[in-house]
Amino acid sequence: MKTNYTFGLDNFGDIPLDESGEAVTHAQAIRQVVDEAILADKLGVDIIALGEHHREEYSISSPEMVLAAIASRTKRIKLSSGVTVLSSDDPVRVYERFATLDAVSNGRAQIILGRGSFTESFPLFGYSLQDYDVLFEEKIELMAELLKEKPVSWSGTTRTELADADVFPKTESGRIETWVGVGGSPNSVLRAARYGFPLILAIIGGAPARFAPYVDLYKQAAKEYGTTAHPVGMHSPGYIADTDEEAMELAWPTFKTAFDAIGKTRGWAPWSYEHFKREVAMGSLYVGSPKTVAERIAHAMRAVGAERFDLVYGFGPVKASDRMKMVELYGKKVIPMVRELLEKS
């Protein structure tokens, strides 16, 4: 049986730079993503996934609003969040918003549920970080029920109880495609398997092969729980340019800026160039010419056992025109090359 590989582009609404090197406005950053998604759709990229953040360096706090705009101007690309921070959201509203997106896009909505990797959304929406675990545990349970599109009865500690509540609109397919995004916690892998959600691994550092056992764990767990083990996806950052040299030169300052900003919130030291080079050579940064990036993606997908690969593009302060070019190189060159490499093996 031929494997159905899929390829996505993921973006958090990072603020691109204009031709003079100035950061554009948040509003312009959002319009840029819409334009990029339109190009990605034309080039046959399978999925655009937009992250939800509530921080100055990212313009997208409402991914489904941007996805709805993209829906009206595209034909076939799937429209995904990446991720929806379920812990600080209301599963009923998440369902309603994505079912609406599914309607306006003729069935192209997709959700990636996650716990989130920043703290801001918790105080913003009145949740306590102390409840990080219970919030996700309860809300994913309710979400799994809502996705069945039948009246739901549910009670818990993190939201008002539901008694035979029916939620609308219903989708035409009967189900919004919903994944769980996981950063590498074995418990999160087990949770995805328990509810029968497909799993997408956020692999942002180190050798991707170390995640292969997590794929085994997901499959084993699905077997034990009697749920379906779906194809597994992976998501990693990258930078594509015409040549390896150009990509390295352009990528280094943008990744350093982006990862150092995250490092500040976590307390880890700034990135060194050696660290960056190592991640590019054998870790989880896909940087280089289309050929180099395609070879690394194919190698990583095989090593992990992934059937979906999402490239996080435009991470950090990248020039708008370079981002657009990256979308073009990914759609026109990288994806066909990866498919060819995977089908050969």
């Binding site: 716990r115 990797s117 703290t119 306590s128 970080l129 102390q130 990080y132 675990d133 590498g184 916690s185 074995p186 418990n187 087990l190 550092g205 180190g206 050798a207 170390r210 056992p213 997590y214 085994d216 764990l217 084993q220 767990a221 034990e224 490092g263 976590r266 307390g267 880890w268 030291a269 660290h275 870790g283």
Partner: protein, 207 residues
């Protein structure tokens, strides 16, 4: 007889440490909170060869125990079972699992000192805490190998320090003695050494 290592915590770090210890020929026990059956599949799949136990059983089974549980849960440690043991604290404050730091550790205390205060009858060493869990897995190398990375060890007791340094070496890293347990503060988040994945001489420089 193979050396024994008990690891309390079956998350990202606990699993990687179990994998490294198995590779180094240790007998490994691993515990999460509560029933070991809950982590049985995880251990079988990710660290085959290790045995899932309760935290109390694991602490009693080995003379050296690594703490790889969420820092905010340290008050749930089996204090009695850990008495008289060498306890290697690999924990760090991490908001996703710990909430606000001040809720678990007084702001004027290093986290390992707080752990030592709770485990008054144990000897606490801070080690295996500053390198990211995926770097630990990717960078472990045999003794003398080129480019071998270093891991800092902070302890007040000499034999405890020696034991932790031996473990670090066995797992695939050059141990770096940084003195007293209180010095472990220099390895905590927000310091240059946090996240450091460097050879011995470079690690020494930044600490």
């Amino acid at each position: 007889m193979a050396k024994r290592l008990a690891i309390l915590g079956a998350g990202k770090l606990g699993i990687v440490l179990a994998q490294l210890a198995l590779r180094a020929g240790y007998d490994v026990a691993i515990a999460a909170s509560g029933d070991p059956a809950k982590i049985d599949l995880t251990v079988r799949t990710l660290a085959p060869g290790a045995t899932a136990m309760t935290a109390t059983d694991a602490a009693q089974w080995s003379d050296v125990i690594v703490l790889a549980l969420p820092l905010s849960k340290y008050r749930t440690l089996p204090v009695t079972a850990l008495a008289g043991k060498f306890v290697i604290d690999a924990m760090n404050y991490w908001w996703e699992v710990d909430g606000e730091r001040e809720d678990s550790i007084p702001s004027d205390q290093s986290s390992s000192e707080a752990v030592q205060m709770l485990l008054a009858e144990s000897t606490v060493i801070k080690a295996l805490s500053h390198m990211g869990y995926h770097d630990l897995l990717d960078e472990a190398r045999p003794s003398g190998a080129e480019g071998r990375r270093a891991i800092a060890v902070a302890a007040d007791d000499d034999s405890a320090r020696a034991s932790a340094m031996q473990l670090v070496n066995d797992l695939g890293f050059d141990p770096l003695d940084i003195g007293s347990l209180a010095n472990g503060r220099r390895l905590e988040p927000g310091n240059p050494a946090f996240g450091a994945d460097l050879p011995l001489s470079k690690l020494k420089e930044i600490i």
